[in-house]
Structure formats: structure tokens, C-alpha cells
């Protein structure tokens, strides 16, 4: 028996919005400690890693570890049926063919239930290596989303250069070039609004804007985003989800390829 109740049902809606454009389907691994989802996008350039700890739920029970393969487009349809202020409960049997989403209104006078068929997904075994990053940037998530959106109008890829002076996002395309420089915040009043750089050595890497824009769909989950960069390893874009976990996106930098 698996059951997870989230009073703040809107959170699960936001989480789904944050991953559904990258992944068409994904396995939700449920265990006593919580729920995990890890999957590569279809192009195999980015990876999504989501963790929701059991203590972040209002009620959580998982008798046996189970894996639920879900079509995220179908799940999105179901989540659209859930009001923003409704309470969500996910339920499944021990070896489930289906998962049930139950939505309750706050005063308990309306209950809707949707049962969704699960999929048999072949899971790739993905190990995320522990990595020391040369630069870790914390910045307002809204600012990051804005920069990604603005610069992607000009070119397909974006250069992120981090040095002790600050971060520079730049792009170039047919119509010209654009860049945004952010300086480290000198006095931190509100941590949510600060740009904080922890740097071991300067890094410059190029990424496809398309993916960064997709990652930025997690902006409603957290006011702060952190970007971790190192040469020759994927960028990590992390959004902490208050009291319950995080969603991390990994994106391989663009590299010159002799094959293409």
C-alpha cells in the first residue's frame, strides 16, 4: 500500500509543470524515505532528478518499494482537474497497475478521484557522480528565467561565464548579440534577492537555450535557483522545494563534435 497526502496540492501541480515539457514519461520510485524521479529527456542531453521526502508530506505511507511508470501528458490532464487550493492524495497498491489521484476541497465537501493506468517503463540505470563544482551561483529564480527568455530570442545557445567579478550570460545570432552581466550582491539583506558566487576557478561553458528555458519552468517552486558549473561536466540547475525536497536539472554543455 502506498499513500501520500499533500495538503498543498498546488505544489504537485507546479512540479509537474516543471518536468512535463522535458519528459514524456517517467518512473516515480516510491520508498519509505520518499519519492524519487530520475530521467533523461528524449534527446539524452539533460537529466531531471526530483526528490520529495516523506516528511514533507502531510501523510505518507509506503509499505513496499514500488515504481510507477507514468505518462506525464496523461498526468498533466489529471492535474488540470485539481483546483489550486485542493488537497492531493496519491494512492497505489503494492504491485500497482494503476495510480489514484484524489482531490479534496479544503472544506471537504467535494472529492474527485482519478485513476490512471501505469506504464511498464524500461529504466536506464543512471548514476549521478559526486562532483566538485568550480562555480556555484545562487540567484533569484525569476531573474534567471528572465535572462534565459530574453537571450534565447537571439540565438540557440547561451554562454555562461563565471568569474570573481560576476556572471555573464551572452548569446549571439543572426540579428546580433546580447549579454547580461550580474555582479555579486555586496550586502545581502534578503537572501532571496541576492546573487552569491562561490568560485574555485573561473568557468565558461555554452548551453542550449531550449533546455534552460525548460528548466526555468520550475521557477514557481522556489524564489532562488542555484547553478553549479565545472569544465567538461553537466551544469546543475537546482530549485529547492520548501520543506520537501528539490528538483535538479543537469545539462551537458555544448561541445565541438567530430562526428556531426
Amino acid at each position: 500500500m502506498f499513500e501520500a497526502r499533500l495538503v498543498q496540492g498546488a505544489l504537485l501541480k507546479k512540479i509537474l509543470e516543471a518536468i512535463k515539457d522535458l519528459l514524456t514519461e517517467a518512473s516515480w520510485d516510491c520508498a519509505q524515505g520518499g519519492i524519487q524521479l530520475q530521467a533523461m529527456d528524449n534527446s539524452h542531453v539533460s537529466l531531471v532528478s526530483l526528490t520529495l521526502r516523506s516528511d514533507g508530506f502531510d501523510k505518507y505511507r509506503c509499505d513496499r518499494n514500488l515504481t510507477m511508470g507514468m505518462n506525464l501528458a496523461s498526468m498533466t490532464k489529471i492535474m488540470k482537474c485539481c483546483g489550486n487550493d485542493e488537497i492531493i492524495t496519491m494512492k497505489a497498491q503494492d504491485e500497482p497497475d494503476t495510480v489514484t489521484f484524489m482531490f479534496e476541497s479544503k472544506n471537504g465537501d467535494k472529492i474527485s478521484e482519478y485513476e490512471m493506468k501505469l506504464m511498464n517503463l524500461d529504466q536506464d540505470h543512471l548514476g549521478i557522480p559526486e562532483t566538485d563544482y568550480a562555480c556555484v551561483i545562487k540567484m533569484p529564480s525569476g531573474e534567471f528565467a528572465r535572462i534565459c527568455r530574453d537571450l534565447s530570442q537571439f540565438g540557440e545557445s547561451m554562454v555562461i561565464a563565471c568569474s570573481k567579478n560576476g556572471i555573464k550570460f551572452s548569446t549571439s545570432g543572426d540579428i546580433g548579440t546580447g549579454n547580461v552581466k550580474l555582479a555579486q550582491t555586496s550586502s545581502v539583506d534578503k537572501e532571496e534577492e541576492a546573487v552569491i558566487i562561490e568560485m574555485q576557478e573561473p568557468v565558461t561553458l555554452t548551453f542550449a537555450c531550449k533546455y534552460l528555458n525548460n528548466f526555468a519552468k520550475a521557477t514557481p517552486l522556489s524564489p532562488v535557483v542555484s547553478l553549479s558549473l565545472s569544465p567538461d561536466v553537466p551544469l546543475v540547475v537546482e530549485y529547492k522545494i520548501e520543506d520537501i525536497g528539490y528538483v535538479r536539472y543537469y545539462l551537458a554543455p555544448k561541445i565541438e563534435d567530430d562526428d556531426s
Binding site: 528524449n42 548514476g127 553537466p234 551537458a252 561541445i255 562526428d259
Partner: protein
């Protein structure tokens, strides 16, 4: 389980890649190449199945008793041990598949214990070996190999380009090209009752998979990691069988990537077979995809270990049991008509 390799370096390059430090001078020397005794040659291939000749390292003492204990020969031998007791004129008609032998109970089986007691230990050399993962949707092959130094990728065409020049090798620094896999094997010499010709053949020793590899198969070839292990395995004069067998163990120092299912057909042989491949999109990986896949695989998979399959009691059988517990050797799928004519079909074991 090991039934297919990639072995693509030419004779010259593979001698360089197998060079070792001479115990006398401390400088690198290349093993001496010895042509096979049965007239067949080694043909490099990205898709090397059993019954083909592949280069195998042996101690020079096998040919020359006065040789130094560190001296080595590189000789093409047939993959698939021809049992010494086999009497038929056709070397392959013994009806057993002897491409692998399980390390457990190896000493109880004559086919393997007799050669090992004679010191007939060899090191099978290859770029890497292929293994098939059984998935719900079919089988996905992977290529396994030693980690390479920075800048060399086993999945890149340039790594295996032919005609390495002498710049990649020097007596001082040895070989600077890709590191080849060194697998513990046994060889034997079989005399054809018809032609009296000698035929050298070998089998690959297998061990239970290390935790890092067990997601793909519960057996793996016994890989010798480093020059000391290779030397001890080859030097049958100073290292007896029981001590040598201590070197036969699961290792984790391997890397891998998914490759195209085209490797399943032995007729296919091109560099495309070793390239990075996406099992979901069914396409070759390029650029950032390769980087991502290489970065992710460096850690052991989080997949829960497969349930232990019931152990096959090998000792009960009279015949050598080189098969895995599940008798599963269809991986190199030499599929009926797809099979090359000159190759005898790989037979399934009779007793299962």
C-alpha cells in the same frame, strides 16, 4: 559471460599495446608475434565472435624453455577451447561450447584442469567485450572496456584508427594509445588426427559479476587489471595454478556505453558498432549526449540487484560446463541464415 569482443588493432599496434617492462632492462619491450600454427590469420574486427582467431598473450617459456620468465609471445588462437581429448577430424565437432569456463569448479573438469596444470594460462587481448542487457523491450548491447586516459574515448572513431605510428610507442614510455582489456584465459594445443597439425585454442574464464556490472549480467570475464596481474597469470613457472587462480576475481574498474544492436549480427563489422548509442532514440549519440552519457555512467547503477538465479551444480556433470547457470549463450546471436557460412554454428549445450 563473455561471447563477443571488439579487437580492432592491427598486428603491429597490438604488439605495441601489449608491451611490458622487461625485468632485465626496465624498458618496455613488445611481445614477439608468433603466427598461428593452423594457417589462419588474425583479422581485426569490431565484432569478434568465438571460432575466430584473436591475439592471445602467453609466456615465451611455452615455446622456449630457456626464455626469461617475463618474456611473452602474442599468438592468434581460436576462441573456443578444443578439448585435448577430442578425437574427431573436425575440431569444432566436440559439441560443447568452450568459449567460457566458470572459475568455480574449474579444477574439477578435465577439459580445463589439464591445461591449467600444464601452466597453459593465457591473456586474451581485446578493445572491450560486449554484453547484452535483457530489457522488457528487447536486448540492449553494451561495450565494456578499461577506463582510458583523458582525451581517448573508446566510442570514437579516431581512437581505433588504423596505422598507429611509432610515435605512440617508445621503449621508455611504452604504449600511449588506447588501453586494451586483458582477460584471463586458458589455452590448449590440439593435434588434428587427420593432418597432425597443431591447433591452439583458448577459453575465457568467467567469474560472478562485480556489483558495478551485475545489472547487465550475473557473470563477467575475469579481467586482469595491471601489469603485475598479467605477469603473474602468464608466469606459470613461478606462480602455481592455485596462486594464479587468486587473480581471477570480479573487478569494477570498467567503463561502458550502450552500442547499436547491429552488433548482434556477426556479419556486421564496422566502427559504427563501438560508437555511443541511445537505447531510447535508437540513434548514435553525438556531442553533448556523449558527454552526458559518459558522465552519468561513472557511478554504479542504482538498479536493485537481480535476484540470484539458482546455482547450477556444475560438479554433477561429466562434461565440462562452460555455460552460465542459466545456460544462456544466445547473446552472440548467430542467427541461423545470418550466420557466415564458413563458421560452424555455435552449439547449445546438450545437457540442460
Amino acid at each position: 559471460m563473455c561471447g563477443r569482443t571488439a579487437c580492432t588493432l592491427g598486428q603491429k599496434e597490438i604488439c605495441m599495446a601489449c608491451s611490458y617492462k622487461s625485468s632485465e632492462t626496465g624498458k618496455y619491450v613488445q611481445p614477439e608475434w608468433k603466427d598461428s600454427t593452423d594457417g589462419k590469420e588474425y583479422c581485426p574486427s569490431y565484432n569478434m565472435p568465438p571460432t575466430h582467431h584473436t591475439p592471445v598473450l602467453i609466456s615465451k617459456m611455452h615455446m622456449d624453455k630457456t626464455a626469461d620468465h617475463s618474456e611473452r609471445l602474442l599468438q592468434p588462437m581460436v576462441w573456443g577451447l578444443i578439448p585435448f581429448w577430442h578425437k574427431d577430424a573436425d575440431p569444432q565437432s566436440h559439441g560443447l561450447s568452450t568459449i567460457n569456463c566458470r572459475s568455480e569448479g574449474l579444477m574439477e573438469k578435465k577439459t580445463f584442469s589439464v591445461p591449467i596444470k600444464k601452466g597453459r594460462r593465457c591473456v586474451v587481448v581485446a578493445d572491450g567485450f560486449y554484453e547484452w542487457e535483457k530489457k522488457k523491450t528487447g536486448k540492449q548491447p553494451y561495450l565494456f572496456y578499461f577506463p582510458q586516459r583523458r582525451g581517448l574515448s573508446v566510442g570514437d572513431e579516431s581512437t581505433w584508427k588504423k596505422g598507429y605510428n611509432q610515435e605512440l610507442w617508445s621503449p621508455k614510455d611504452g604504449w600511449k594509445g588506447p588501453r586494451v582489456l586483458t582477460i584471463a584465459g586458458l589455452f590448449d594445443v590440439w593435434k588434428s588426427p587427420e593432418t597432425e597439425k597443431l591447433m591452439y585454442s583458448y577459453c575465457v574464464i568467467t567469474v560472478p559479476s562485480s556489483p558495478k556490472i551485475s545489472w547487465v549480467h550475473h557473470r563477467m570475464p575475469a579481467i586482469l587489471d595491471g601489469p603485475e596481474e598479467v605477469q603473474a597469470w602468464l608466469n606459470y613457472e613461478d606462480v602455481d595454478a592455485s596462486n594464479a587462480l587468486k587473480l581471477v576475481k570480479p573487478i569494477s574498474n570498467l567503463e561502458w556505453h550502450a552500442v547499436s544492436p547491429a552488433v548482434g549480427n556477426v556479419k556486421n563489422d564496422s566502427v559504427e558498432l563501438v560508437k555511443h548509442y541511445s537505447s531510447t532514440s535508437g540513434k548514435k549519440l553525438v556531442g553533448s549526449q556523449k558527454l552526458m552519457s559518459a558522465w552519468l555512467q561513472k557511478e554504479s547503477p542504482k538498479k536493485s540487484p537481480k535476484k540470484e538465479e539458482p546455482e547450477h551444480n556444475a560438479m554433477k556433470q561429466e562434461l565440462p560446463d562452460e555455460w552460465d547457470a542459466d545456460g544462456n549463450f544466445q547473446e552472440p546471436p548467430c542467427q541461423g541464415s545470418d550466420h557466415e557460412d564458413e563458421e560452424p554454428p555455435l552449439k547449445k549445450p546438450k545437457a540442460e
